[in-house]
Symmetry: C2
Subunit: 338 residues, 2 copies
DNA sequence: CTGAAAGCGCTTACAG
DNA sequence: CTGAAAGCGCTTACAG
């Protein structure tokens, strides 16, 4: 695209040195405001566009924070991205998003981010191994959201799974569930499924209840259908709102003796899908804003951009769940959508 | 994060010159394979990580393609991002995603991308003015998806709105609609709403049918509810699948005399939401794969990376719609979800 | 097949 | 308050 105009061009046109242009453009207080004005006007007029790669190379800081998302289909990630965007923009930095699910597909985007010398990396439910994550943590400040900590220098922020499981199960028991079914995606896709399943199993066991796990895959949730025909309606826990939609349609279509589902359902993430009238899903809400702010702060502290002194080992923060109760867990009220 | 190891470090350790390391790392054929092996091994062992910003500065090409998405909530954007990702990866380039809806919120992410010297910019339904877009087109190869062309050097790829409107309206007429309602988001948010509305209005007018437009905002779609109580069920056109969900719940909840909605509904984008059993939306499908491939090719041609010679003025490509017919437009069959 | 050298556009001490 | 200069890590003709 033609030749880009550089600070040198601006300096020449404004009759000052190259260094001064840089200072003026970056708002250094040690530039006379009259000079600054003139330089800015010249830059504007010449159509000067800053070159962030050159600045990054020279200054040693890119002002970039990288985000890896498994996909862009789950509205929960929209929450997360927006919240991070805000925390990042507030620091005058830029958020770069890349997408990759699974270990293989995550590697390339992450490497690209590292090559751009991001000052921090936020990974949401990454499918990378603990060992790989620790390795990343040595190369760059890393904070995980929604995945348990691999150790090393990697910080993590996640839901208190134990408390969430407790809240979910006790709610379902109150709704009349005598046994439980956990519907989760392929654990390869969401590494957190294993941990969540264990927390739920522990909470169920404590009450002497049985918990079965079924996987939601491309063929739907045949396992759930089988569970529903057994005696006694189970309480159903969906790993997230997306999975919950699949579970919900199985529940509704297998409703024994009535137009409404009989099995109470609870899911996680509390996205807009959960609050939609036709689903009205009881769902575990996470304080995404806080999580995002902490994540950005953590990586900035590790990069030396903020805070004082060295950050030592991994920080593992856990946030309290809030159960947003809706109709899916009180089938008596009957779902709408009919 | 400690000091990163550079090519100079690798050169020293391997006992070769700095230039040779660069050539070896980039797979230049003019490096003896034995030498290359040794250099690669040394780099690996030292934990060398390429610095893309330095490479970009030195070579004059970043290998980056920027994508601006309005949000990450609409599953259609997941399609688009994945398809672009594929086309970009195939060229060994990297896709950088940023998010911003509205003119104001789009500016910063776009500037950040430009500062990183992306070799091309793909903007999905951008809310920027024609003038701004033409300006961008002077600074960088730009391709718009789903928005009409601003002229200048900006290429565009979009649905053939005339053909789509024709297909949608004739389908609704066959489904018994005697008048029409178009449900769209705030045109500030999706600049394509205006154009789509006009295409629909033209198609309706040609049949002597009336088309009213109602806006879907935070308060829901009160306008649609009013329309539905008027005499004669209208055919409803939703601007996209997200809007369609809102429209659908209004239609279902206002069903006069039966459990199923009476107004046939058609939407655009054909995302997974449309194909879900409980919605079963008739929706206009777009060939996203082709669109993405073309978009990447267009910007690469303009950047001089591909093709021969200069690309002149704007190329405006239009793609044929395909109507995926489902139950929402044949209310007689009755929606599920009961 | 290999090396020495210039330069990409910027930032930043260091002198004045 | 301003300027001259070194250097960030890499790529790439240009010689050998």
């Amino acid at each position: 695209m033609g030749q880009m105009v550089t600070q040198a061009d601006v300096a020449r046109a404004a009759g000052v040195s190259r260094g001064l242009v840089s200072l003026a453009l970056n708002g250094s207080p040690s530039v006379a405001s009259s000079t600054r004005e003139r330089i800015l006007a010249t830059a504007e007029q010449l159509g000067y566009r800053p070159n962030a790669t050159a600045a990054s190379l020279a200054s040693g800081r890119s002002g970039l924070i990288g985000l890896l998302l498994p996909d862009l289909r789950n509205p929960f990630f929209d929450f997360v991205a927006h919240a991070l965007q805000e925390a990042v923009a507030q620091r005058g930095m830029t958020l770069l998003v890349t997408v990759g699910a699974g270990a293989r597909a995550s590697r390339r985007p992450v490497d690209a981010l590292l090559a751009l010398r991001v000052e921090g990396l936020v990974l949401v439910s990454p499918a990378l191994s603990d060992e790989e994550l620790r390795g990343l943590g040595e190369a760059c400040p890393v904070c995980l959201i929604g995945r348990c900590g691999p150790g090393g220098r990697v910080d993590t922020i996640r839901l208190d799974e134990r408390a969430a499981a407790e809240a979910v199960i006790s709610h379902l028991v109150r709704a009349g569930a005598g046994r439980l079914v956990y519907v989760c995606p392929d654990p390869e896709e969401d590494p957190n499924a294993t941990e969540r399943g264990q927390a739920l199993a522990a909470a169920a066991r404590q009450r002497g209840l049985r918990l079965d796990t079924v996987v939601d895959d491309v063929s739907g949730v045949p396992g759930l259908r089988e569970q529903l025909v057994l005696a006694g309606a189970p309480g159903v826990v969906a790993h997230n709102d997306i999975v919950a939609l699949d579970a919900l349609s199985v529940i509704r279509s297998s409703g024994r003796g009535g137009p409404s589902g009989v099995a109470p359902l609870v899911s996680y993430d509390d996205t807009y899908l959960a609050s939609r009238e036709e689903f009205s899903l009881t769902s575990v809400e996470q304080p995404v804003g806080t999580m995002a702010r902490d994540a950005v702060r953590f990586v900035c502290e590790r990069s030396g951009r903020e805070g004082d002194g060295e950050v030592g080992g991994a920080r593992n923060v856990t946030v309290a769940p809030v159960l947003a109760v809706r109709r899916s867990s009180s089938p008596g009220a009957g779902p709408s959508g009919a």
